[in-house]
C-alpha cells in the first residue's frame, strides 16, 4: 500500500451517559492511502459512524476519545477546535446518508456549496459562487448555473446527494468519508452515485472511507475492508481477502446475508441469528460468541479470553480476531 494519508490507531470512544459509560468504539485501527478506498462494514450500532465522527472531531462533548488519528502524520486528537475547523471540510470532508436532512433547507444549494469553499478560501462571494457552479456541474447537475439558485427541497434524492458530494469535494479534500452515501436512494440512483464517487476519486486521487451496509457495493469499489463488530475490528484485509478468504465467523455471516443474484432464492439472505450486543455489555471473551455457529469448535476460550487480531493467510495484512485458527469454511 502507498503511504497512507489517514491513519487511525487504537481508537477508543467512550460516551458518558446517564446509564453509565458506553464504549462505542473499543480500539480500532485503519489506514487509507490516496486514491484508495477503505470500506467499513458491520451491523447497525457497531460504531462505524462514531468512528468517522471521531476522525472529524465532531463528537458531542460527552464523548471521550483516545488513540491516534494521523492526517499526513499529524495528530488530530486533542487539537484545539480552531485548528480542527481548518481541517474539517478542507482536508477531510464528509458525505452523509440523508442528503435532505444534511442540507440546510433555508439556503440555496449554490450558496451552501459556495459557503464550503469560502470557509477555506479567502475569495469574494461571486468567485465562490462561480466555483460552486463549476462543482455542481462536475457532479452532474444539469444546467448547474440555474439550478444553483434552487433550494434542497426542489431537488430529487439523487440530485441532492450530488449536491452534498459537490459540497464535500469543493475544497479538493485529501480524505472523503462517505457514511452510507446511497442508503436513502433508489437502486438505480445508488449505482449512479457510487459511480460518481469512484469517478471523482479517480480524478482527484482522494482517499475514501466508505461506510456501507451493502457488501455488493463494497465488493465493487473498495480496496480494503474493515469489518466492525460491537466497537471492535472483527476482521480486516483486502476486499479479496474478505470475499474469498473470510476468516471470521461474523464476516461469513455478513457475506451469507448479502443478497446475491447468482445464488438461488432459497439460499439468499441468511441473516445472522440474534442481534448485536449493546456496547460494553460483553466484557470478557468474544463479543460475537452468543451468535457464533463455530464457538462449539473452540470451546471455553470464546467465553473467557477476548480474541485479538492475528495474521491470516491472504494478501498483505489480512487479520481476524477469532480463536478459530483455521478458516471456518475448512473446519
Amino acid at each position: 500500500m502507498a503511504e497512507p494519508v489517514l491513519e487511525v490507531h487504537d481508537l477508543h470512544v467512550t460516551f458518558s451517559t446517564e446509564g453509565g459509560l458506553v464504549p462505542a468504539v473499543d480500539g480500532i485501527d485503519f489506514a487509507v492511502a490516496p486514491g484508495e478506498t477503505l470500506a467499513i462494514v458491520g451491523e447497525s450500532g457497531s460504531g462505524k459512524s462514531v468512528s468517522s465522527a471521531a476522525v472529524m472531531g465532531l463528537l458531542p462533548s460527552n464523548a471521550d476519545v483516545t488513540g491516534e488519528v494521523l492526517l499526513d502524520g499529524r495528530e488530530l486528537i486533542g487539537l484545539p477546535n480552531d485548528e480542527l475547523r481548518k481541517i474539517r471540510g478542507n482536508d477531510i470532508a464528509m458525505v452523509f446518508q440523508d442528503a435532505l436532512s444534511a442540507l440546510n433547507p433555508y439556503y440555496s444549494v449554490g450558496w451552501q456549496v459556495a459557503e464550503a469553499y469560502r470557509l477555506h478560501h479567502d475569495v469574494s462571494k461571486k468567485k465562490a459562487h462561480q466555483r460552486a457552479i463549476e462543482m455542481l456541474d462536475k457532479v452532474g447537475i444539469p444546467d448547474a448555473a440555474r439550478r444553483a439558485d434552487g433550494y434542497p427541497h426542489e431537488f430529487s434524492g439523487g440530485m441532492r446527494q450530488r449536491v452534498v458530494i459537490a459540497m464535500a469535494l469543493v475544497n479538493d479534500p485529501r480524505v472523503l468519508i462517505a457514511d452510507e452515501p446511497t442508503t436513502a436512494l433508489d437502486v438505480t440512483v445508488q449505482a449512479q452515485i457510487m459511480q460518481l464517487l469512484e469517478d471523482v476519486q479517480a480524478e482527484f486521487g482522494t482517499a475514501m472511507v466508505l461506510i456501507s451496509h451493502d457488501l455488493g457495493v463494497v465488493a465493487e469499489v473498495a480496496d480494503d475492508v474493515l469489518v466492525m463488530y460491537a466497537g471492535r475490528a472483527a476482521e480486516r484485509g483486502t476486499v479479496r481477502d474478505l470475499f474469498y478468504r473470510a476468516a471470521h465467523p461474523y464476516s461469513l455471516g455478513l457475506l451469507g446475508a448479502m443478497p446475491r443474484v447468482d445464488v438461488p432464492p432459497k439460499l439468499r439472505l441468511t441473516t445472522i441469528p440474534g442481534s448485536p450486543p449493546t456496547p460494553g455489555s460483553i466484557t470478557t471473551g468474544c463479543a460475537f460468541q452468543p451468535r457464533c455457529a463455530y464457538t462449539d469448535r473452540v470451546g471455553e476460550r470464546c467465553i473467557t479470553e477476548r480474541p485479538e487480531l492475528t495474521p491470516r493467510p491472504g494478501e498483505g495484512d489480512h487479520e481476524a480476531a477469532c480463536h478459530l485458527g483455521r478458516r471456518p469454511s475448512d473446519v
Binding site: 472529524m56 465532531l58 477546535n81 480552531d82 475547523r85 481548518k86 481541517i87 474539517r88 471540510g89 478542507n90 470532508a93 464528509m94 452523509f96 440523508d98 436532512s101 444534511a102 442540507l103 440546510n104 433547507p105 433555508y106 440555496s108 459557503e115 464550503a116 470557509l119 477555506h120 433550494y151 427541497h153 426542489e154 452534498v164 459540497m167
Partner: protein
Amino acid sequence: MPDLVWFIVRRLFAALIVMLALSLAVYLVFYAIPADPAHLACGKPCTPDRLEQARHFMQLDQSTLQQYLNFLKGIVAGRTFGDGAAAVHCNAPCFGYSFPLARPVTTLIMDRLPITASIALGAAVLWLLLGVSLGVIAALNRGRILDRLAVGVALLGVSTPSFLLGLLAILVFGFWLNMVPVNGYVPLTESPVDWAWHLITPWIVLAILQAASYIRLTRSQMLEELNLDYITTARAKGAGELRVVVTHGLRGVLVPVITLFGLDLGGLLGGAILTEKVFSMQGLGDLLISAVGQLDVAVVVGVTLFSAFLIILANLVVDVVHGVLDPRVSHG
C-alpha cells in the same frame, strides 16, 4: 421571486375575505347590544319625536343590513349624516361617527394610535432582542448556570401580572428613585428624547413580561435545531461555532419566533389596555375602555375592528416573512 409575489397576492386576497367576514360579525354583535345610541344622543327629557329624529339622523332607522352596508360604504367613500347646515361629515375611510364625542371614529383612532404604537413598537423591539438573545444563550449553555438563570427569568416573567410589575416600576424608578417620569406622553415629533424618556418604563415593563415567552420558545427551538443533521454538516464543512449557531441555527429558530412576534405585536397595537391604564397614557386601549363605559357603540365597533384589522395585518406580514425566511413555504 415571482413565486413570492404571487404568494403575497394570494395571502392579501385571503386577508381581505377574512376582514369582511369579521367586520360583519363585529357589526352584528355590537348592534345587537340593547344600548340605543339614539336614546343616549337624544338626551333628557326625550320625546318620542326627538328620538325618532335622532334615529333618522344617525341612520339607525334603517335595516341592520342596510346599516352595515352604509358602514362599509363609509369606509370606501365616507358618509354624511343629516343634511343642510346640521349635516355631519365623516370622511373616508369612515369607521363610524361618535355622536357623544362629536368626532369621526377614524379621527379618534388616529389621534390615539401614535401613543399605543409608540408603546408597542418600542417594547416589541426590546423584547424581541432580549428574548431571542437570552434564549440562544440559554440553549448554548444548556443545563449550566446561564441557562438556569434565563429559564428562571422567563418563568418569573410569564407569571407576573403586567399591572403589578408596572406599578412596582413606577413606584421604584418614578417615585422613590425619581429617575423617570411617572406618566404622560410627549409626541415623537415634539422631542424624541422626551418621547423615549416618558416611554422607557412601560417599554421595559412590557419587554420583560413579553420576553419570557420568547426566551422559552427560542431556547427550545434552538436546542432542537442544534440536533439537526444540517448543523452537523455545517460543522463538518469547517464552520466556526458562531457561524453554526447564527447562520445555520438561528434561521430555523426565527420562523416560529416571528409568528409569535407578529401576533403579539398585532394584539398590542390594538391597545395595551393595562399598560396604558397603569402609565396613564391615552392610547387606543384607553379609548376603547372609556367608549365601553359610555356605551359609545360606534367607537367600540371602530376600535374593535381596527384591532382585528391589525391582527389580520400582522398575520399577513408573518406569512410573508415566513415566505421570505423559508423557501419551502414560498417555493412550494
